[in-house]
Amino acid sequence: MKAYYFGTCVIDACFPQAGLAGIELLQRGDVQVIFPQEQSCCGQPAYNSGFPDEARKVARHQIKTFAKDYPIVVPSGSCAGVLKHQYPRLFAGQPEEEEVRRFSSRIYELSEFLIKVLNVRLEDRGEPIKVTWHSSCNALREMAIIPYAKALLRQLERVELVELQNERECCGFGGTFSVKQPAISAAMVSDKVDDIVQTGAARVLSTDCGCLLNISGALGYRDLKIPTQHLAEFILERTHGQN
């Protein structure tokens, strides 16, 4: 089968290896991955900052770029949430509303696609490791895909998951919020880092690189050597060599 891959702007600029890992996992499931070079950002930064016209402009560009009737796989709950649930709102009452609805119905978050569509089975080939998990708010609530992500993680037999005390609490990223309300954002991410530290985990995993940009930045600033990693990259590392 063919599927589009929407890499997201954060992954594109800062975490391309996470993006590639997602592509490899899809290819392993016999998906022919299409990566349109014209793709850019989902539009969320403007959409959440009071600039809907600019968000619409960028959204139209993605809709045009991902024109064919293939599923669109997104390695981020947050961007997937915008593409799937917010685009229809952004275009409500606009001439292209119907077209946008059809586009949005093709959106899948990566772990959702791996479980629901590909029904993947993973074999853990790594050493025992203790990890903790960060649920991005949009993955958790708007997309509700955390069960899929954790189902993948549970397939890895030698991975011990130690959950955060406040897993359902936001890390304080919020896109432009992190620089528009920097003091509140700093307090939130500081608490998130404390929560991570108390788990004693060797790594922090998530489906969302926006949150990981925030969390890894705060961990690094405090000189804490706990790596963060996108779930796709972690899975690829644990199952390397499989087809």
């Binding site: 990566f35 403007a46 600039f51 949009n138 936001c170 919020g174 890894s216």
Partner: protein, 479 residues
């Protein structure tokens, strides 16, 4: 970029709140307890979902016929002997209350908890008129002693712990011994309040639900002070926002369950008062006069816009505050307005105008925790996003929120236009991405990056973008 005044004030408040370690500890422990209790009560998520869908439909049905229901409420109340007054502004409402007090020569008012009275700044107003207004809800009593306003709409003194209250009582209440024993603190307050209940000239209360069908005012409380205020003095004045009306008596039980469960995790409160008339002949107690003041104060403007109207579904349970990662770190005072937290952030800018309170709409990461717990399913994120749009919308405002466009600057508008151009021009984006890869680690630490790097390392721009890596791997480009 020059900061608007609301932003500058909020930043100062935030810095102060975040610097107060005691406040953060008090809030965190209190909020954790309240949300734990709520979770236990609504453990059956499916049943809760059904109940809140019912709650939402009851509130929507009421709002869909708001003018008619208010008219019906007035008729029924009047027929029951309750005198109804309409106030368009807080000043009008204060004048109505003062007029009633003057007619009765009242100098001592005892008050049950009412957020509408806070909105009116009634205590301050009465004090200026030489009238004593005493808060009788324990939390309200505590903060009044300390000259503060509520920091939470349900638990007004939640920012204080037991030890702080022990000191306060000892310092401010004549002859009160110092004690940290909760029962003894309660006894001190009770002793003070009893005499006030006995000698109060007029009782003032809020209203949780007003039933149009029967002309009944419902009052939810835990301490019995509400019943004292509404029955002991010869005159009772009830204050309500005009959105508090519901259609039928049978609408009340589900809303009550949602309210108490969401607010404090209680299946029912200790007291639930239904006030339908003043004392009737032959009855031994109850006030001789009951007045209902119905306040607009900007609500009809919200009502007029179908998208904004959902704001008025609120039943003031405070669950959105208890679950908000921002409220639980700042407390209520930092917001700088009567209604804090998520509900305050959607309500206040609409009541007072964006130019005064627009910054509240930026105090959200859109994490959605408020929407998840809201017992009447208010679409918080949608309303916050609409308010952010309005803050920058000058002539093209879609919702005409007062003060729209107040935050517009050419610089910010231009930067978003450039952002849109960059993200719709693949050639430009390619060059930009390559520049970031090469020079991203050497960007000057100014503007957003300066804020980001206060507590974080800079973003790790990769040597090659995913676009480039995908091309290298020969991935199908669909062209």
């Amino acid at each position: 970029m020059a900061k608007t005044e609301d932003v500058a004030i909020f930043e100062r408040n935030v810095a102060k709140a975040l610097g107060d370690g005691q406040l953060r500890r008090n809030l965190r422990s209190a909020m954790a307890t309240m949300s734990q209790r709520r979770r236990t009560l609504f453990a059956d998520t499916e049943a809760f979902e059904q109940l809140r869908t019912l709650g939402q439909s009851i509130r929507r049905r009421a709002l869909s016929q708001l003018p008619e229901l208010l008219e019906q409420l007035e008729q029924r109340c009047t027929a029951n002997g309750i005198q109804v007054h309409w106030a368009e502004t807080a000043a009008e409402a204060n004048a109505i209350v003062l007029d009633i007090l003057r007619r009765h020569g009242a100098t001592r008012v005892i008050k049950g908890k009412s957020m509408v009275s806070e909105e009116m700044h009634l205590n301050h107003f009465l004090e200026e008129q030489g009238i004593e207004a005493l808060e009788t809800d324990l939390g309200e009593y505590i903060i009044q002693l300390d000259g503060e306003t509520p920091s939470h709409i349900i638990v007004p003194a939640i920012h204080k712990n037991k030890d702080q209250i022990a000191h306060l009582f000892h310092e401010r209440i004549p002859d009160a011994p110092y004690t940290e024993v909760v029962e003894e603190l309660n006894a001190i307050a009770r002793g003070e309040l009893r005499e006030k209940f006995r000698t109060g000239d007029v009782g003032v209360s809020g209203v949780n639900f007003a039933v149009a069908e029967t002309g009944t005012l419902c009052l939810v409380e835990n301490e019995g002070n509400g019943r004292m205020c509404t029955t002991a003095p010869p005159v009772h004045i009830a204050l309500m926002g005009l959105e508090k009306v519901v259609e039928k008596l049978q609408d009340v039980p589900p809303l009550l369950r949602l309210l108490t469960g969401s607010a404090t995790g209680q299946p029912i409160t200790t007291y639930f008062n239904m006030i339908t008339s003043p004392r009737r002949s032959g009855e031994l107690d109850g006030p001789h006069e009951v007045h209902l003041v119905i306040l607009d104060n900007g609500r009809s403007g919200i009502y007029a816009d179908p998208e904004r109207r959902t704001t008025l579904q609120c039943i003031r349970c405070g669950a959105c505050l208890n679950h908000c990662p921002i409220y639980t770190r700042l407390g209520g005072h930092a917001y700088g307005h009567v209604y804090p937290g998520p509900i305050g952030s959607i309500l206040t800018p609409q009541l007072k105008g964006l130019d005064e309170a627009g910054v509240m709409a930026t105090a959200s990461t859109f994490c959605g925790a408020c929407e998840e717990v809201c017992p009447v399913k208010i679409p918080f994120t949608e309303i916050l996003r609409m308010l952010r749009n309005e803050a920058y919308a000058r002539d093209e405002s879609e919702h005409e929120v007062q003060g729209h466009g107040y935050r517009y600057t050419t610089v910010e508008a231009l930067s978003w236009k450039s952002w849109a151009l960059y993200n719709t021009s693949p050639a430009l984006a390619r060059i930009g991405a390559q520049m970031l890869s090469k020079f991203g680690q050497h960007l000057p630490m100014i503007g957003p990056l300066k804020e980001w790097t206060r507590v974080r390392t800079p973003p790790p721009f990769a040597p090659k973008t995913l676009h480039e890596l995908a091309q290298q791997r020969g991935l199908d480009d669909d062209r």
